[in-house]
């Protein structure tokens, strides 16, 4: 008695019924646009270096695509951010035909990695938090985390002792974290 293929149950793939479409789920797409615009602009302009003048057009394409997907969207933010990445990469593919790509195009996030929308949201908020920091603190974090300089290098750059530079790195990180949480109102783990 061997198992015939009849015991296999196919997953139900198609579901184009409009009853569950985005258009029936979303009362006002204009509000959605206003809600997610800043995040999507951040993704296109700051992450993918799309010029501001073109980013708004890409956003229109993304929202049209969103409205057109007849499938039920489970996570609007993730969907829109992933689609914005898709639109931005397409933008550069098209531009590459007429001009050179940005030098760091390969650094751009892989849109298939998970939790991308949340990570972009963290970056957007962090960017705001950095604005509230003292310039010296900002510079410290920039040198250590973005440029990847050691505490010794940071000390040399800021003309201070190694020990103080280490302390500065720690304190600035703590401070920016405090500001970050005050912006998001997320309770800090004790």
């Amino acid at each position: 008695m061997s198992d015939p293929s009849t015991l296999e149950v196919n997953p139900v793939v198609p579901d184009s019924a409009m009853e569950s479409s985005v258009l029936t789920q979303t009362p006002d797409v204009g509000m959605l646009y206003e809600q997610y615009r800043e995040l999507l602009l951040h993704v296109a302009c700051r992450k993918f270096r799309v010029p501001d003048s073109d980013a708004e057009n890409l956003m229109q394409e993304v929202f049209l695509a969103y409205m057109q997907t007849e499938a039920k969207v489970e996570n609007t933010k993730a969907w829109l951010v992933a689609a914005m990445c898709n639109a931005s990469r397409h933008y550069w593919r098209t531009q590459a035909r007429t001009e050179s790509l940005p030098d760091d195009i390969h650094d751009h996030s892989d849109p298939v990695s998970h939790g991308l929308a949340d990570r972009f949201a963290v970056m957007l908020t962090l960017r705001q938090a950095l604005k509230y920091l003292q310039p010296r603190c900002r510079e410290t974090l920039y040198l250590h985390y973005f440029e990847g300089r050691s505490a010794v290098d940071v000390a040399r750059e800021l003309d201070t002792t190694n020990r103080y530079a280490e302390k500065l790195i720690h304190n600035c990180l703590k401070r920016v974290r405090e500001i970050y949480f005050s912006i998001t109102s997320v309770r800090r783990p004790s």
Binding site: V13, P14, Q68, T69, E70, A71, E74, A82, H170
Partner: protein
């Protein structure tokens, strides 16, 4: 009194790059959580977008807001109008020639909605309606909609056509339809998600035409896109397709963890989870873990029962009967299989009537009651004579051979197996003649 001690932030910052060497953090949820949050933050500080000085406009563009709202309104209006048109169009498809105003995206969407309803109840009708949807979509004046919108509409119609033709076994047509869908999506600026949906249908099709490795790669690719778009349900479908491929390759140990993960995912709907329980049962059985196999099948039976999916419930019971058979518990296996035969008959599942009868024959042989096989065959022959399928004659010939062998007391498990092989091929090759074993 023991007071739980935690590291302060200062210590955790010091541990950012060497937490692996610490003995406290891995076991402390609070400290591990804070460390994770610090890692997220320092990870973000390494990203160029955080340091980008450019100021972006904070004011939403009224032009965009208005355009999107207008598009949404137009779509709703089109769909409302299409609700009255589509029943008439389905009744007389040629009417599209005299009503050019029916060539709208709304009509295509409504048609595809009907295709979706008919896919499993009337698959041939679904395939025909999908062809009609393609015809309407392709004949819409392109300038009436944004470029991506019309291309994606056409691609969706082609994809639904691909699925419907795949479902009825017209694989070459399905392949052509997939090519058409992909061709249109490749022209769009935002189409990754829709492409992934097409990829998933292609994976299903490739499974049927034995391009299993490619199918597996496609399923994984689709899953990755669905996850990026936060679509857990479709990611689970892609998982399910991959697990089915592994089942087909008889790689049960690899399929089982995927199935168990799907079965245990409470965010998925009950039907998907029931399917995963069913397939887990099969994996367990093949791996010789019979007790777990029974539990999985029982779970699937319960779920299908709750959902009112009687055909699927019958298939899960069939799996359970097979486990009883392997365990040597022939009487309960026989009871279930005999019930299933009549159930499949009532459900009109002709091939399953035959295959379950062959399983009954196996059990009767194991019980030392081969004489009863002849009566079993007579009943099945009568059934096939009555239902009048395209392959009824071939089916009856094979069953008659088994009946005669039983009457001559010459039935063996391999006799039953040769008839079973014939029945498995029949739906795909209705003109296949029964090859009498030497």
């Amino acid at each position: 009194m023991i007071i739980e001690q935690h590291y302060d932030e200062e210590v955790l910052i010091g541990l950012l790059e060497e937490a692996d060497h610490d003995s406290h953090v891995p076991g402390c949820e609070t400290c591990a959580g804070t460390l994770e949050s610090l890692r997220d933050l320092t990870g973000a500080l390494r990203d160029n977008s955080v340091w980008d000085e450019r100021q972006l406009s904070e004011t939403p563009a009224p032009k965009t807001t208005n355009m999107l709202r207008a598009f949404a309104e137009r779509t709703k209006a089109e769909d409302a109008a299409a609700a009255a048109i589509v029943p008439r169009l389905i009744a007389a498809p040629a009417m599209i020639e005299v009503h050019p105003e029916w060539r709208t995206a709304g009509v295509v969407r409504k048609l595809l909605g009907v295709v979706d309803e008919k896919n499993f109840s009337e698959p041939k009708v679904a395939a025909d309606l999908a062809a009609l949807a393609v015809e309407v979509a392709e004949s819409i004046e392109p300038g009436l909609y944004p470029f991506d919108t019309i291309m994606k509409l056409r691609a969706t119609a082609w994809r639904e056509r691909a699925y419907a033709t795949y479902y009825i076994g017209s694989f070459p047509e399905s392949l052509v339809a997939l090519e058409e869908a992909d061709g249109r999506l490749s022209l769009c600026s935002v189409s990754e998600y829709e492409q992934a949906r097409t990829v998933l249908v292609r994976a299903l099709l490739y499974r049927e035409i034995d391009r299993l490795d490619e199918a597996s790669t496609l399923a994984r690719r689709a899953k990755s896109v669905f996850r990026a778009y936060g679509d857990r349900r479709r990611a689970a479908m892609a998982d399910s397709v991959e697990a089915m491929l592994l089942l087909r390759l008889r790689r049960f140990a690899e399929a089982l963890p995927i199935e168990l993960s799907l079965a245990g995912d409470s965010s998925l709907d009950q039907e998907m989870r029931a399917n995963a329980f069913l397939d887990s049962g099969r994996c367990y059985k093949e791996l010789g873990l019979l007790s777990q196999a029974k539990s999985a099948y029982l779970e699937a039976i319960r779920s299908y029962e709750a959902l009112g999916l009687s055909a699927r419930r019958a298939i899960a019971r069939w799996g359970l009967a097979r486990v009883f058979f392997v365990e040597g518990h022939y009487e309960p296996a026989l009871t279930i299989l005999q019930e299933l035969r009549s159930e499949f008959g009532e459900l009109g599942m002709a091939q399953d009537v035959a295959l379950s009868a062959l399983d009954v024959a196996d059990v009767l042989l194991a019980l030392g009651r081969p004489a009863e096989i002849a009566d079993l065959c007579r009943a099945s022959i009568a059934y096939f004579g009555k239902v009048g399928l395209a392959y009824s004659e071939s089916a009856m010939t094979a069953l008659a051979f088994l009946r005669e062998s039983a009457e001559r007391s010459r039935v063996t498990p391999s006799t039953v197996e040769s008839v079973r092989t014939h029945f498995e091929l029949l739906p795909k090759q209705p003109n296949l003649l029964f090859a009498f074993p030497a």
